[in-house]
Amino acid sequence: MNLEQLNRDSPYLMGLLGGIADPEIPVVSIVDLGIVRAACDDEVVITPTYAGCPAMHAIESEIRATLDAHGYTHTTIRTTLTPAWTTDWMTESARAALKGYGIAPPPRVGKIGTVPIYSVYFPSCPQCGSRHTERLSEFGSTACKALYRCVACREPFDFFKSL
């Protein structure tokens, strides 16, 4: 998103869209996740998280319904692929909300670099905070998550992968 777009953004519209929860993770909004890239009177620009994420369709319908309900029937929804979505766009409050919901938030891609072939990242347990955790599976209940278990409190938990 460039400065020109930022300046065009309507705070009121962003606020409206900020009320739409992610269909899979209801504690975070689509704005907090970085799915909404721009919102002005003419158009709302969104970007998919994962290319095949089935929630994207639901998200687009929800945006349409919200826009229509508030008189923005002329506002179009455009999907863009560039720049590609990254978990680094997730706000701090979204990360905190994820943790409170029992999902370990993703580390910043800027910090860990690209996905290494062998080394595994061990997030701390969102329940007890222990750093002694183990990976059960690289893929979890949705495309964006991996399945982990805390060795200290024995609770399994989801980890939101860095992308």
Partner: protein
């Protein structure tokens, strides 16, 4: 058909057909976590296919959309690499047999390692939409490669039986990788325009990436003649193995019996 369209179909159809093959594991995975992993990777691949076929349909400008391309073309019109359509059961047992997980993992290893290199290079394509799709897909493909590499090591460096199955899958699949790197008129034309990547230029780095993983897995690189002199399958030209028809029959039957059906 223009070379540009043919190239997009080659990549899009390969993702689609492999995605469909991985989806066949749904409910049949060797363990719950792997069942879920295959569904997730399959979904990512179908997501890639959707973006690529959408782009192909727009380029074609004939009023078709990605669903039309996926569900209403026959096997001769598909341009996927033969590697992606081979049955999950391996080459010896034939179709409709239960899956061989080593075969699935090794195929994912060989193909997703290729995809990682291809997406990396295609990020600078002069086709900006293709470059955007490559940048997006690269991030997901890295996770797919990581999963496949992890299981390749577990199988290869596991029990005598798992080692033997992984080696057998590797020996059977390796000749089909030649097609990924063999130059052809379509690719040459697209390279000249800066749209495509000369995949033969990726062969050396792909080979060393695979060799490093195989070494960790105590598996032996099969004696393969390579894309210059070895066997080259021809799926990307629309000449497929006997297996693709079965994949398409299953994938397309609902859309063809109930045209326009929605959930």
């Amino acid at each position: 058909m223009s070379a540009h369209l043919s190239y997009l179909l080659r990549l899009g159809d390969s993702s689609l057909v492999l995605g469909q093959r991985l989806a066949e594991w749904c409910g049949h995975g060797p363990q719950l976590e792997e069942d879920i992993a295959m569904a997730n990777i399959g979904l990512d691949l179908i997501g890639q296919a959707r973006m690529l076929l959408q782009h192909a349909a727009a380029l074609e400008g004939a009023g078709r959309d990605e669903d039309r391309l996926a569900f209403f073309r026959s096997d001769r019109e598909f341009r996927n690499f033969t590697l992606c359509e081979l049955p999950n059961s391996g080459l010896e047992k034939g179709h409709m047999q239960s899956g061989d997980y080593a075969f699935t993992i090794i195929r994912n290893l060989l193909y997703t390692a290729y995809q990682c290199q291809l997406w990396e290079a295609l990020q600078s394509s002069t086709d900006t939409q293709l470059a955007a799709i490559a940048a997006k897909s690269l991030k997901e493909s890295r996770y797919h490669l990581r999963h496949a590499a992890d299981w390749t090591v577990r199988f290869g460096d596991g029990t005598a039986l798992s080692h033997q199955k992984a080696q057998r899958a590797l020996d059977a699949l390796m000749p089909y990788t030649n097609e990924l790197f063999a130059p052809d008129a379509v690719e040459d034309a697209l390279c000249a325009q800066g749209i495509g990547v000369a995949s033969f230029s990726l062969y050396a780095s792909w080979t060393s990436a695979i060799e490093a993983i195989l070494q960790e897995a105590t598996l032996k690189m099969p004696a393969n003649q390579g894309p210059s002199t070895g066997f080259i399958s021809e799926g990307k030209h629309g000449l497929h193995s006997e297996h693709l028809g079965f994949v398409l029959a299953e994938m397309q039957s609902l859309a063809r019996q109930h045209p326009g059906a929605t959930w």
